[in-house]
Amino acid sequence: MEVSTIRLPEKILVINVEECTGCRICELICSFYREREFNPTKSRIHIVQWEREGVDVPSVCLHCEMPACETVCPTDAIYKDAKSGAVLIHDELCIGCKACLLACPFGGISIDLEKRKIIKCDLCGYDPRCVKFCPTGAIQFLKVNKAVLMRQRRAAEKMAELFKIVTTQ
């Protein structure tokens, strides 16, 4: 792979796990926008829940710079779009081997059970619908520098909280 082809996109999907309430509106919006039906199994985003621990984790393609799914794809059906940075599928090249499903470390690849084909997030043409309707901002589509700053700030806030506790005790 030529490293020179890797170029950071302007905007990236950002997941804020601590903000996810587990309402799954994103799954509904995604399946309706893409498949014209409400069916979480056809959604490109999934919320994995652990009720007793109070944890809800949005699982979606993160559009890696060096996608494992692309690397393992035997027919080069998966490619990274140079312009948008989205990892996309050439449906006509896909042979349905599911190697991408096994390779993805984030569970970002799904299978449409009815059409028996591989499906994944394509960023809705650079305007992700799930982001638009997430009520808490658990999933955002941000310019890279903003995304980095936001995550830095969130991590720092936790440190600040810790500092407050330590200094007041």
Binding site: T21, C23, E37, F38, N39, P40, P135
Partner: protein, 653 residues
């Protein structure tokens, strides 16, 4: 069919037979789904003579018409039974979480369960496959363990389940059915009906989609309702604090029950209020399926004797039941008890009432250590309350007396001690055998009328006119347009309220209009699978928006009047069921204490209900509903709603 899944599954546990039939279009159109379907199917199968614990009792589980779509807060499902072990009449309850939509995705509008399994079992539904499976290995296990083990056994950690805990298995009449660990169908002992059928729960996985008839129209109205909710003037408070904020709000307006409705003020209420809860215990907000309000919370107690209590919820009802109503000023033990009730499978409202009523009996010397296994039932003694919750779930000692509900406990204790039943029953704040949720309404006549005429007993979720406590001071000044804009109340109805001046909390005249609106609207909402919270109750989705959502989804044109008529149809049918159970006008009254004892303290000091005026208000209510002075739906009324069979049953016998 669009919107509906199109199928009803009938499961006979004794015969181990499963039959799937198509959903009738007429039923669908007239009753919408959820509670509407269940009440209609109950009426059709009604045998009032059966025992609640007999195999003949039948369970109906139905997601709403909008359930499974992205319409805001519509993921609810209703569980109904022909006979409740608590009240001896039909009953239902609904819950959010993720079970309802999964059932719809599996392809079912209603699951009907009857008979009794030969050993403890659960039902597994995977799209077209329905199986009755052995559950003996999880006998006696908590809701949480059962949920985990069932998912493991099904081999699908994302399968959605409803389960009962030990309380349901032990036939406790206050037991609940739970999905997603903490989303609870409670109210009238549904869990015990599951238990009596040897049914530990249901697991479901569905992969079918729901299509809508008019896609573009739906997208438009969805975006409109979604942004309407997110910009609503109470959205921020309710999405941040959820129902616990009501502790503070109701305390300000004198609507807080304290010590089994003896008082209405509680000096320590600040420490049970939403902001205190969120600041000190909450980790994050939790939402039900398709709901942008996320009013629930995941909490953790970080220190003290209840350290490491982690769970979801703690709604206002639970906080009041085990807080002010029990004379307890600490929040941590309430969170601990909330977890206990959720895992044991107990209804917190009913269980809280059983314990706080006992504390009231104790205060007045009607019971003592000899009755309570040596427990000291003083107000606010939470160690004892915790002990009693355990005893109730296991039907042990004094817990066995309380396990059938406060009213039955009054009867049992009176019999054991040879004192008149009424002496103890007088303390029990209930209607139709169901004890009351957390509202003080001696100064709120509309609330009184609603609680008394709620078709499953004293219940706020049947149509409590939530605007009443604030009507005089706030809504009244703003006029009908404001009610229309903020609460979604059709202008025609809002104007009528102003004409009849129904917003004055202490007036009795015209109150029936207010109550009928909320009761019909919420019957419709429960049939659509919509949470009461986002309706005119609080966040303002009224019948107009409901009608537009339903029309877009089903492709059948509904007007807001059609939606209200569907609600009226469900409500009136439920009234017909009550009348066939032999309940008459006398059952539509608030508890006697509210007519005898004025509120002794707080902003509503001196408030009391007036019997004569209440009688007149009830007359007006029946008249507006189209019922006789005995509260029987008239032939004309029934026929106007298309309930001709019911008219025949009630009037040509």
């Amino acid at each position: 069919m669009y919107g509906w899944a199109g199928k009803i599954a009938r499961i006979h546990l004794t015969k181990r037979k499963i039959r799937v039939e198509p959903l009738s279009k007429n039923l669908a159109k007239a009753f919408l789904g959820g509670r509407g379907f269940n009440s209609k199917l109950i009426y059709d199968a009604l045998d009032t003579s059966i025992d609640a614990y007999s195999p003949e009792n039948t369970i109906f589980i139905a997601p709403g018409l909008l359930t499974g779509t992205s319409a805001p807060a519509t993921g609810r499902f209703t569980i109904s039974v022909v006979k409740s072990p608590l009240t001896g009449i039909f009953s239902d309850g609904n819950a959010g979480g993720h079970f309802g939509p999964e059932l719809k995705y599996a392809g079912y509008d209603v699951i009907v369960i009857t008979g009794k399994a030969d050993k403890l079992s659960y039902i597994l539904i995977e799209d077209d496959c329905i199986e009755i499976r052995d559950a003996t290995s999880i006998a006696g296990r908590s809701v949480w363990e059962s949920e985990r083990i069932m998912r493991e056994e099904v081999g699908d950690p994302q399968a959605q389940t409803i389960t009962i805990g030990p309380a349901g298995e032990k036939l406790v009449a206050m037991s609940s059915v739970t999905c997603n660990s903490s989303r609870v169908v409670a109210g009238c002992g549904m869990g015990a009906v599951f238990g009596s059928k040897n049914l530990k729960g249901v697991a479901v996985r569905g992969t079918r989609g729901i299509k809508v008839a008019r896609e573009e129209e739906f997208e438009k109205i969805f975006e409109e309702t979604y942004s309407f909710i997110l910009t609503h003037l109470v959205y921020k408070d309710f999405s941040t604090y959820g129902t616990p904020i009501l502790s503070g709000v109701l305390s300000l307006v004198g609507g807080l029950p304290v010590k089994n409705w003896l008082y209405s003020t509680f000096p320590e209420i600040e420490k049970q209020d939403g902001p205190f809860f969120v600041e000190n215990y909450v980790i994050k907000s939790k939402g039900c399926f398709s709901c942008p309000v996320h009013c629930s919370h995941y909490y953790v107690v970080r220190n003290g004797p209840y350290m490491n209590t982690r769970g979801e919820g703690a709604e206002y009802e639970t906080i009041n039941a085990f807080g002010a109503r029990m004379g307890n000023k600490d929040l941590a033990p309430i969170l601990y008890i909330n977890n206990m009730c959720n895992s044991l499978g107990l209804d917190t409202i009913e269980t809280g009432n059983a314990i706080s009523t006992s504390m009231h009996w104790w205060q007045d010397g009607l019971i003592n250590e000899d009755d309570t296994d040596g427990l000291i039932l003083e107000w606010g003694n939470m160690e004892v309350a915790i002990e009693l919750v355990k005893k109730i779930a296991n039907r042990e000692g004094f817990g066995k007396i309380l396990a059938d509900g406060a009213l039955m406990a009054a009867k049992k204790i009176a019999r054991n001690k040879g004192i008149p039943e009424n002496k103890l029953a007088y303390y029990v704040i209930h209607v139709k055998g169901k004890t009351q949720s957390s509202v003080e309404y001696r100064a709120l006549t509309g609330n009184a009328l609603q609680y008394a005429t709620a078709t499953r007993g004293a219940d706020h979720l049947r149509g409590m006119p939530t605007i009443e406590p604030y009507a005089k001071t706030w809504y009244k000044a703003k006029g009908p347009e404001f009610l229309n804009r903020v609460l979604g109340i059709p202008l025609e109805i809002a104007k009528k309220w102003f004409e009849c001046d129904v917003l004055d909390p202490e007036k009795y005249e015209g109150k029936a209009y207010l109550v009928k609106y909320y009761q019909d609207l919420i019957a419709a909402a429960a049939s659509l699978g919509m949470c009461v919270f986002v309706t005119s109750w609080r966040l303002g989705i009224g019948p107009l928006m409901m009608a537009r959502l339903v029309s877009a989804v089903t492709g059948i044109d509904y007007t807001w009047k059609d939606i209200m008529e569907c609600g009226d149809r469900v409500y009136t049918l439920e009234y017909a069921i009550l009348r066939r159970y032999g309940l008459g006008r006398e059952s539509d009254f608030p508890p006697e204490r509210f007519f005898n004892e004025p509120v002794p303290d707080g902003p509503k000091k001196g408030a009391i209900l007036n019997k004569d005026k209440y009688e007149k208000m009830l007359d007006e209510y029946y008249k507006i509903r189209g019922y006789t002075s005995e509260g029987v739906p008239t032939k004309e009324k029934l026929e106007s709603l298309g309930l001709n069979e019911v008219a025949k049953d009630l009037w040509n016998r």
